[in-house]
Amino acid sequence: MLSLVIQNAVAGSAIGLLYGLIGLGVVLFFQTTNLMNFAHISSAMLGAYLCYTYTVMWKLPFALAIVMAVMSVALYGLLLKRFVYAPLAKRKGGRLEFIIATLMLSVFLLNAVIVVWGGVPLPFQGLFGSDRFPIFLGNVVIQYHSLFVLAYITVFVIALQYFFTRTMTGKSLRAVAQNPRAARLMGINVDRMLNLSFMLSTGVTALAGILLIPVYFVSLDLGSGIIGVKGFACAVMGGMKRPYQALLGGVLIGLAENFVVLFVSSTYRDVITFLFLIIFLVLRKQAEA
């Protein structure tokens, strides 16, 4: 029993870190725009599909494919700002209009992916050693995927921390997130920082989407609402302002999910996740958005 618990704890934290990564993207977006992008999870889907195209169809090495996929999705983030955010802001569209515009964008992207890649989940073998045997530590079975996720996210967090605390651009971004007007007075180009935060938010989510491939395959499930809402849940648990707390919230959600499957039922796993989210939202202290 203990080995089963440990096993589930490891797998749960790994997938939770990925939810957290999606939540981190949500936080990065919310910090600068004060908006939630409901097409957020589409970036994960786009990242996974593009990565598939680059590796399987163009036969590029996997590491290069990841970088290219993340870059491409970041470019899509720029388009998102140029063609959805900016026109809406110009016409004084409120939050609800932005929600609906991005929701429709996510439907559009889902159908665009169906047109380009087809609706059938694509197999993507050999990724993150998923076809190798898992590691046995006594009775505990650990998937290679979990270790890969841990490694990637550690590297990523160190890089992000370096960017935010040591580089001028990162510091400016944080300044804009705190107070755009004061940042503008300090000579920071707020619009460029906004561009950057769109790119960062979509790029981070694309990375999460690629790392989620062994769990969901390269499928439309990656662009579906349920994972997206889990990402939002992580961001909310992180207080919408603190990126690393979102990662922590993700780990909590991942663990809760895995233990619900272990001890309660797998059919109602997501029901319980959503109930948790509602209760958490209602019990939060300051619930102003």
Binding site: L88, R95, L96, I99, A101, M104, V229, V236, F274, V282
Partner: protein, 346 residues
């Protein structure tokens, strides 16, 4: 002259009501029926989001609860159809009251997350509760609405739902002009100021949530008896998003927003269903709605009203303001409500 201004909208409604008599195509009539049903849900959302400022991205849940409630009651219990639809509305009313509880503490994006979660929970229950809903297999054999002994034709259904929609819009219109309606608008502008003015915002929220849930439930009940078969696919999250899209496209702050948006958003995909381009039609329709939202964030109904008023002013017909009910009165503030209640509005 003033009379002339009122004639044109009535003429448009009359023209719309004649369509099923002229068009023999059963599929067209069926889609019009679906559009009217969608209009009901969207009208409920206009009340909830446009007037009271509460977001809901889970209205497909009410639609689904209503549909399955009347299906179960008529098939398993043997209720007559009309009683089934009414009980569906009543059940949704109660569920709506429960859903209004989180809105006491949560607002904005967080409320939309709560409602999304609620919608997903209901959907998962529909899919997984096999003994009650038959899950993904679908629920067959739901009786049609009968008139006397004869089942109602699709054209007949069109008029029944048109009357229901008309009543719903009328009720909303009356409500928006009442103490409660003004209180709701004040609440969406500034909740704290409204409470300071002595309005019980919690009561307003319970009321508006249950009202829009009632609209959703009745719409779902009608849908169940229109299609005679239910499958969980009709109640997924994207359906909720579609309902809100209808309300936004039509115009959240306008009473007719739900009706206009429901028709436009239901008809757009059908127009794009061109032979040989079937895979593209969902892509095209979502793009079209996206463009509509970006170009006209305040919706079609107010835009049409503006153009209409300007035309009227140019032709020298009447004043420019009198025709824009619903739109112009959208900026009720807490102070206005207070004045209203003092002068014996309640």
């Amino acid at each position: 002259m003033e009379r002339f201004k009122k004639v044109i909208p009535l003429l448009a409604v009359a023209l719309f009501l004649v369509i099923p008599l002229v068009d023999d195509n059963q599929y067209h009539v069926y889609m019009l029926n679906r559009a009217l049903i969608n209009c009901m849900v969207a009208t409920g959302l206009v009340a909830l989001t446009g007037f009271a400022g509460q977001m809901s991205l889970g209205h497909a849940a009410f639609y689904g609860i209503g549909a399955y409630a009347t299906a179960l009651l008529t098939v398993r219990v043997g209720f007559p159809v009309w009683l089934g639809i009414i009980s569906a509305g009543a059940i949704c009313l109660l569920v709506g009251m429960v859903l209004s509880l989180p809105s006491f503490k949560v607002s904005g994006f967080y409320l939309s997350l709560v409602t999304i979660s609620f919608g997903n929970i209901v959907w998962m229950l529909i899919v997984n509760w096999h003994s009650l809903t038959r899950g993904p297999l679908g629920f067959p054999g739901i009786p049609s609405i009968t008139l006397g002994t004869q089942p109602l034709s699709r054209v007949g259904f069109f008029y029944v739902s048109a009357v229901v929609l008309g009543l719903m819009t009328l009720a909303l219109y009356r409500l928006s002009r009442s103490y409660i309606g003004r209180g709701m608008k004040a609440m969406s502008d500034d909740e704290q100021a409204t409470e300071t003015a002595g309005i019980d915002t919690k009561r307003m929220k319970v009321l508006v949530f249950s009202l829009s849930a009632l609209y959703g439930g009745i719409a779902g009940g009608l849908y169940a008896h229109l299609s005679n078969f239910l499958s969980p696919e009709s109640f997924v999250f994207s359906e909720s998003a579609n309902f809100v899209a209808m309300a936004v496209v039509g115009g959240l702050r306008s009473i007719y927003g739900g009706v206009v948006g429901g028709l436009v958003v239901t008809i757009i995909p059908e127009l794009l269903r061109v032979k040989g381009w079937e895979i593209y039609y969902l892509m095209g329709s979502s793009l079209a709605i996206l463009l509509l939202v970006i170009m006209l964030p305040s919706g079609i109904a107010p835009a049409v009203q503006n153009v209409y008023n300007r035309l009227g002013a140019r032709l020298g017909i009447g004043g420019s303001g009198s025709g824009s009910n619903g739109n112009g009165s959208g900026n009720g503030s807490a102070a206005a409500v207070r004045g209203d209640s003092k002068s014996g509005g309640r």
